[in-house]
């Protein structure tokens, strides 16, 4: 867990200490001189707190890096010319002495890119270009540049602010047929692309008479080649042909979840939604680049997220009414559902003993401050309120209590996710052994739940701590990669 404020105010980093003593240069014998020259003696820090509050303490560098007054590149400040701005760079045709040169390069880029795609050159083939387009231009999200609106089918707008020679090219533009892999090859390709674009895991559900019931009621099927939307009429239409739901698991920061009440909503929780939308946009652009249709894939979704998550085997239905993944526990923000006509090999639902474990565990229910989570031993047929739907034998939560607590002025909350025994970092091998036991037999479930408490997992953290108290360099980027910690 994070260091406490108290600890921060009573210690000093090794490097800062060495630096201040002048030992950092390796001249131990000159320590006294360094001590004096460093200013400790002259300026006289009153205590460690004051020393740590000095500008020197603001940014920690590796011990082999020293700060210098002038950069290592020589700069002539007297005669330095002020550069006008990005419009003067060679990305702007007007910056070229002969704009035709720019056009020639532009045309060469198109010709060589087309040739590589047509010849299926490894690394420069159709799927590579599609992934490049998705990752490069998928930032448009669902607002602003509006590059791939969620119900655009294969239509994607060009970004008026920026244009790359082969931006949003389709197989037709390249002069090749659309990507033609087997369903298994397509699934494998999508999983690879999905991990690169920001999904933890990915599963596929064929839309049939059963699974179509997981879509929102406003979505209809018509005998059209491409889907369309009449937003003002709240009418969304999918083509009546073979379609699959791509179910992408979007992770959230487990590292940030340790600050459950104070920072979760600020970063872990909400940032995952913004990443999810960028991811969904990338996936739409990727599918378009392969020559296929994409619908939905935004956080408005096209249907029940948990339902599609369960049917695609991304997890099991848990006590808190949310998806519990065997790998990530409940620490997933959402399952992004994108509908496509790219043929895919379906993934089956899973049984990792999770729902059975939920019958015994009840930890999320015990820790829920609003009392929204059911404490019934067994799942039940519910969905009797207007904001729920019948048809699932599960633990229906009192979502009014949850929303009232979470959004009603009380501190924001993700406790049910944080305390779940399946929500763990994956460093310790012992977690896999425990999950092996849960997946094999339910006889040890009560003991495992007890041990989870004894070992201190899922306890309410010290609420006086927030991420603001940490060394910025100890914070994982996006809160996701904690290898820096």
């Amino acid at each position: 867990m994070a260091k406490s404020n108290k600890k921060y105010h009573s210690t000093v980093g090794r490097r800062d200490f060495m630096k201040k003593l002048g030992v950092g240069a390796g001249a131990l014998g000159l320590g006294a001189a360094g001590f004096a020259a460093s200013g400790i003696g002259a300026e006289g820090f009153k205590d460690l707190d004051e020393m740590m509050a000095s500008p020197l303490a603001e940014r920690k560098l590796p011990f082999w890096v020293k700060e210098v007054d002038e950069p290592t590149v020589k700069i002539d400040w007297e005669n330095m010319e002020i550069f006008e701005g990005p419009e003067k760079t060679l990305f702007n045709p007007a910056s070229w002495e002969n704009p035709q040169d720019y056009k020639d390069i532009y045309d060469r880029n198109i010709a060589s890119t087309k040739k590589n795609v047509q010849e299926n050159v490894p690394g420069l083939s159709l799927k590579d270009r599609a992934l490049a387009d998705a990752n490069c231009w998928g930032w448009g999200g669902r607002s602003g540049a509006d590059l791939a609106p969620p119900w655009a089918g294969t239509e994607v707008k060009a970004n008026p602010m920026w244009e790359h020679p082969t931006m949003f090219y389709t197989p037709e533009d390249y002069g090749v047929p659309k990507y033609n892999g087997t369903p298994e090859e397509n699934s494998r390709m999508l999983r690879t692309a999905g991990r690169i674009m920001g999904a933890s895991d990915m599963g596929f559900v064929k839309l049939d008479e059963r699974t179509k019931k997981l879509l929102w009621g406003k979505i209809k099927f018509e005998n059209v080649e491409k889907g369309y939307a009449e937003v003002e009429k709240n009418k969304y239409v999918l083509p009546n042909k073979d379609l699959w739901a791509i179910c992408s698991v979007i992770p959230q920061s487990l590292w940030m979840q340790q600050f459950t009440e104070r920072m979760s909503w600020a970063s872990s929780n909400t940032m995952s939604y913004s990443r999810a939308n960028i991811y969904g946009n990338r996936l739409s652009v990727f599918l378009r680049g392969l020559g296929y249709q994409a619908y939905g894939g935004d956080t408005e979704s096209v249907g029940r997220l948990v339902g599609f998550g369960v049917m695609s085997g991304m997890g099991e239905y848990g006590r808190a009414g949310i998806l519990v993944s065997p790998q990530y526990g409940t620490n997933i923000r959402t399952v992004m559902v994108t509908i496509t006509d790219l043929p895919l090999a379906v993934t089956k639902p899973i049984d990792a003993g999770i729902s059975k474990f939920c019958e015994t565990c009840k930890k999320c229910g015990e820790m829920c401050p609003s009392g929204a989570i059911s404490m019934e031993d067994k799942p039940f047929w519910g969905g009797n309120t207007a904001s729920q739907a019948k048809g699932i034998k599960g633990w229906y939560m009192d979502n009014k209590k949850c929303y009232s607590y979470m959004l009603g002025g009380e501190p924001d909350c993700s406790r049910c996710q944080t305390v779940c025994p399946f929500t763990k970092f994956d460093d310790a091998v012992i977690h896999d052994l425990i999950k092996l036991s849960i997946g094999s037999t339910s006889k040890l479930n009560a003991a495992i739940r007890k041990m989870d408490d004894v070992f201190g997992y899922g306890k309410e953290p010290d609420l006086s701590k927030t991420a603001w108290d940490l060394d910025p360099m100890d914070i994982p980027v996006y809160g996701l990669d904690k290898s820096r910690s």
């Binding site: 867990m1 970092f425 310790a428 012992i430 201190g456 997992y457």
Partner: protein
């Protein structure tokens, strides 16, 4: 959590302990002309695996910001390691004593 920056050090330390322990056991057994019997082999392998699991859990739990879990793993896995170690030692001593008498 500066400990994690030095994670390699802890695994080097575990390696030294295990390597040193193996050499020591081999040396002692050789000097007293004792060979392990099958159940002692099983015990020794069990001690090895549980000890390694304990070390991994201890170090990794700090990486996971779970210090309490780290210390409890020492207790819950260390005690079985100790018990098995004592059983193994007593078995070897018993056989050595019997050999001396014979």
């Amino acid at each position: 959590m500066r400990l994690i920056s030095w994670i390699w050090f802890w695994y080097v330390l575990v390696g030294f302990i295990m390597g040193g322990g193996a050499v020591l056991i081999w040396h002692i057994l050789k000097s007293v002309h004792l060979k392990l019997v099958w159940y002692e082999w099983i015990l020794m392998i069990l001690v090895y695996f549980v000890f390694m699991l304990m070390c991994q859990t201890f170090i990794a739990s700090f990486q996971e910001f779970e210090p309490k879990a780290a210390w409890f793993s020492l207790i819950f896995m260390g005690i079985p390691v100790l018990i098995m170690g004592v059983v193994l030692f007593r078995s070897l001593r018993k056989r050595y004593t019997k050999k001396q008498v014979d």
